[in-house]
């Protein structure tokens, strides 16, 4: 065999072996392209967020002091619910049409493409919520520094929601009970994220330092980034087994 043929074979073997980066970029690009071609889902998530956040002043009363007081918490709860409602879209369609099974058969490790799918999901759901939050905060009359901390806490917290929710969505694939079951699985796990996320903005609004809350939230993000993509991959494998 000539040297050229040998190097071509190794290149093909390299390709067939798959890698974390290969799986990650492939899955992320694919899901982003899908989201780009059907933008309605992302738009609906953001619209839901704005809608829920505007229901609270109508229900509770619109006194400015009250709104400033509840603003950070309401915005976080609304963002959490919006992120939750976007979860079924993460795996359901791929599970039904068999793409998910093909992904588990691909040479790339599950860790790679699972992380890629979740990253794409966050860019489509969590990131728009983060970017929109200062606008909603203005409606609640929050101070500029509170708005900034609010957006920062969402920037750190929504990826944790996507990772935790992704694991739950993968576990609930094909289960009876659908959305209600997913709520029972995911919402209790979201509680710490909500506490520290809303706590950061609230501390800033009341003149305390948001640093402890943000540090804990970031620690949670790091732990989630290390552990949960593996759990999502394992959950998908259980689902398609």
């Amino acid at each position: 065999m000539s040297g050229e043929a040998v190097s071509a074979t190794t290149a093909r073997r390299e390709q067939a072996r798959g890698s974390f980066a290969g799986g990650f970029s492939w899955a992320m690009a694919r899901d982003l392209r899908l989201a780009w071609r059907h933008p309605d889902e992302a738009v609906l998530t953001v619209a839901f967020f704005a809608l829920v956040a505007s229901l609270f002043p109508l229900g509770i009363g619109a006194e400015p002091q009250l709104l400033v007081r509840i603003g950070p918490g309401v915005i976080w709860v609304a963002a959490l619910l919006a992120a939750f409602l976007a979860l079924p879209g993460l795996f359901a369609a791929d599970y039904v049409d068999g793409s998910l099974e093909q992904m588990t058969l691909s040479p790339h490790p599950a860790l790679g493409w699972a992380a890629g799918k979740i990253a794409a999901h966050w860019i489509v759901s969590g990131l728009p919520l983060t970017l929109l939050s200062p606008l909603i905060g203005l409606q609640y009359g929050l101070a500029p520094d509170t708005l900034a901390i609010q957006a920062l806490s969402l920037l750190v917290g929504t990826p944790v929601l996507s990772l935790l929710g992704g694991a739950c969505a993968a576990l609930a694939l094909g289960a009876r009970g659908g959305g209600m079951l997913l709520a029972l699985l995911a919402l209790p796990l979201f509680v710490p994220v909500l506490i520290f996320g809303a706590g950061a903005a609230e501390a800033q609004a009341t003149g305390l330092s948001p640093a402890p809350h943000l540090s804990l939230l970031t620690a949670g993000l790091i732990a989630a980034l290390v552990g949960l993509p593996w759990a999502v991959g394992a959950a998908v494998k259980i689902a398609v087994d």
Binding site: L171, A172, A175, R176, L185, P188, L189, A231, A235
Partner: protein
Amino acid sequence: MNWFYFASPATFYGLAGRMAPWFFVTAAILAAWGLYLGLGVAPTDAQQGEVYRVIFIHVPTAWMSMFLYFVMACYCGLTLVFNTRLSAMMARAIAPTGALMTFVALWTGSFWGRPTWGTYWVWDARLTSELVLLFLYFGYMALANAFEDPRRGDRASALLAIIGVVNLPIIYFSVQWWNTLHQGSSVSFKGTSMHVTMLTGMLVMSAAAWMYAIGATLVRVRSVILERERRAQWVRNLPEAA
């Protein structure tokens, strides 16, 4: 000796049936002794009066609620790693008892809170994380039963239980990490700030809760085994099936 002899549902079914009554009898004796110590012998608390006596139910169930989740998660780990059948059945059998313990801990806690704190419920870290634990148990049970294929439910719920383990240190250390209304622990490995009779009563009640939990789990795992293995020949050969 074959250590895996009782890892088979068929052999464990009989063993569980023979052991369960002993655990229940021990639990009843210990509970009677513990309640006698707690309600009859232990002195009235200097600050709280007679109300504190709910501690003899509250603390043992709260301990068991966390410990049972840990045991359940260990069985779930065995399920995922070794794909053993009995460990998944044990995890399923533990979950309802764990949820019961969590519920009793929350319930007695709120009855204790009313006279001492002036409220049934506060949203502090200890209470909230214990409530999350209750929902984790509910989520585990719902997911385990949500699939046509029980093996799929075993594996999916096992992974969920393992993810939920992060809640345990949060509950346990919540009274140290946050300034909470819930008091800190009175018992530690270094010593205790309690009267000796109170401590004895509480430990005896904990042992009773422990024995009850084992007995209830063994009874429940027998019915899980029967349900899952109903088509197996050994089940049809059981004297009670005839």
